[in-house]
Symmetry: C2
Subunit: 358 residues, 2 copies
């Protein structure tokens, strides 16, 4: 097992990475308070891992909120349903919300933990690669709105994260590939050597090699923790983590969150950001080609032919990164170095939109 500590001003918490974590009672005793637990999961994941986790949580009173599976349920209505369960069962302020599932479950459970009694303890047990490398660090929680993704939410840090790599064995291959898009992102924005390592090890990762996955998860969390530690509330550097997300959110939003997986949209979005960086004279053509090749090997989509440039632009305008009316983008100077800027030639954006959207 690998342990990583996320250092935050207010408080620090551990991320444990390795096999067999969610059935390890001794480990849970160390990280989940021995009081009432509100277990939030979805029908798919609860069927696979719910029993093992409940057994390991032993004599704690356990209340369950098992949600339908899917991004379309990441809404205020589902949040209300979780809160109803908490209130109906009279959970007190000393309870712990435990999220067992992917990003949707984690974001909903975390937001419920942030809101219930104005904040209770929260433990994450992410079961997808995307959630393990993304939601584990940063404390972002929330829900979607018909008008845009993650528009409603809170910052709420977990007290512990248990990333059990065994759960990746049951992950559909398409979701593993989507998770790898975010892993590649950490190399792109901060660590050229990690990007090199990914180019060498991508086939092992795709084959589900546990050691390779553990290294990739750990390095991804480290990079994210370093950036978030510098900027918990997204006033500056943290925005670098949004590489590919302005384009990606537009794809997801325009297609109703139903066609593309989040990681797939981010993957295509990163290539669009790289292409736009190239248009701005920032990134080399070689680096853009390396990224395109790696995404291709992973089997990720590298354009969004199902969304028109005009529709994409419309959806980008509601994105949270709009400041004083001007869209900001995360652009790449080269592999391993990113910047946030609102200073770019409008043609660079237009050319990218025309080149990558349908």
């Amino acid at each position: 097992m690998n342990t990583l500590t996320v250092e935050l001003a207010e408080r620090s918490y551990p991320i444990l990475i390795g096999p067999g974590l969610l059935g390890n009672a001794a480990l849970l005793d160390e990280h989940v308070p021995r009081r009432a637990v509100l277990l939030v999961s979805n029908t798919t994941v609860a069927a696979l891992y719910g029993a093992a986790l409940k057994l390991a949580l032993k004599d704690r009173p356990i209340i369950e909120a098992i949600l339908p599976d899917g991004e379309s349920y990441k809404t205020l209505a589902t949040l209300a349903r979780i809160l109803d369960v908490a209130v109906t069962n009279r959970l007190a302020r000393d309870c712990t919300v435990v999220a067992l599932g992917g990003g949707v479950v984690g974001d909903l459970a975390g937001f419920a933990a942030a809101c219930y009694l104005r904040g209770v303890d929260f433990v994450q047990i992410p079961t997808t690669l995307l959630a393990q490398v993304d939601s584990s660090v940063g404390g972002k929680t929330g829900v979607n709105h018909p008008g845009g993704k993650n528009l409603i939410g809170a910052f709420h840090q977990p007290i512990a994260v248990l990333a059990d790599t065994d759960t990746l064995a049951t992950l559909p291959p398409r979701e593993l590939r989507a998770g790898l898009a975010e892993v590649i992102k950490y190399g792109l924005i901060h660590d050229a050597a990690f990007f090199d390592w990914l180019e060498v090890n991508i086939d092992r990762l795709l084959a589900g090699n546990p050691e390779a996955l553990t290294h990739a998860i750990r390095r991804s969390c480290e990079v994210k923790a370093e950036i978030v530690g510098r900027d918990e509330r997204e006033r500056g550097d943290r925005a670098l983590l949004n590489l590919g997300h302005t384009f990606g959110h537009a794809i997801e939003s325009a297609t109703g969150y139903s066609t593309w997986l989040h990681g797939e949209a981010v993957g295509a979005g990163m290539l669009m950001a790289a292409a736009m960086s190239r248009e701005c004279g920032l990134m080399s053509a070689t680096d853009v080609a390396r990224l395109r090749a790696l995404l291709h090997r992973v089997g990720l989509p590298i354009a969004a032919p199902d969304v028109s440039p005009a529709v994409a632009l419309e959806h980008m305008k509601i994105d949270k990164k709009v400041k004083a009316g001007r869209m900001r983008f995360v652009l790449l100077k080269r592999i391993g170095a990113a910047i946030v800027t609102a200073d770019y030639p409008p043609e660079a954006l237009q050319t990218t939109l025309t080149g990558y959207f349908g």
Copy 2:
């Protein structure tokens, strides 16, 4: 005009107290960023003060969310409605939510500001005495749940509070009296001299004397700011502010939030807490009698004959102050000194319930 600064670790903000504030464009320029404003109010208050405020906000783009008036609308559904207005109008992260109204408007608007894009700026313009002395300090926002009051919410500090004493002239006398219950609370828990001052000046306050009101508001905010400054997240001392609230919330919850005003319930609840303190051998009979006499002069209810002791107890158990299954109470050692404790003889609670509930 009086100015008070609330000192908080993360950030400080000013509370301005005095007449003519909400129509003062120069003052608003100082405290409300000159960008888009989401003005949240209710139909009653918007009709009285909306036009003057909008005029003073001048050239800022103003989006309005005008809610129905009443505590029964302090729900997740109304929160969703405010957020819909924000999303539909594509308000960006640099917008400011301005709350114009009493506690319900302030709690809803503050929670919306906390959740929208995971947090935007928030300015409070409280128009009731209760909101001026209570919601102005502390950053508590939230909504009720059918199962209990304020069970869902967030801590979100405003960037400024403008307590315009002119607005109290249009406040129904019953609401002024209810607000005075919270004013009395600050004397009870922290400042015996202020309690003495209230005994001397209560008729001037009831008559709406502006100088007396300004002093009472200022001293109330100072006491609350001092306590909150020591304990922003309610881990310790801050719980003292809940004097009378465990009993009071039970009254409100049992009567469906429709019969009693919040301040009335807190007024009766404070006397119950004093009586229970007396039963525990803490407070003197003289001090209990002084409190009873002052509440009587204000014209506040001093018992809850419309709720049975058993029903009251049931509603108290869902209260947020339950820790590890044991109810905690704020009790009084004397006028000016309060403690939080879960250590009391069960008979003291039972005698109080029997003595003050129907």
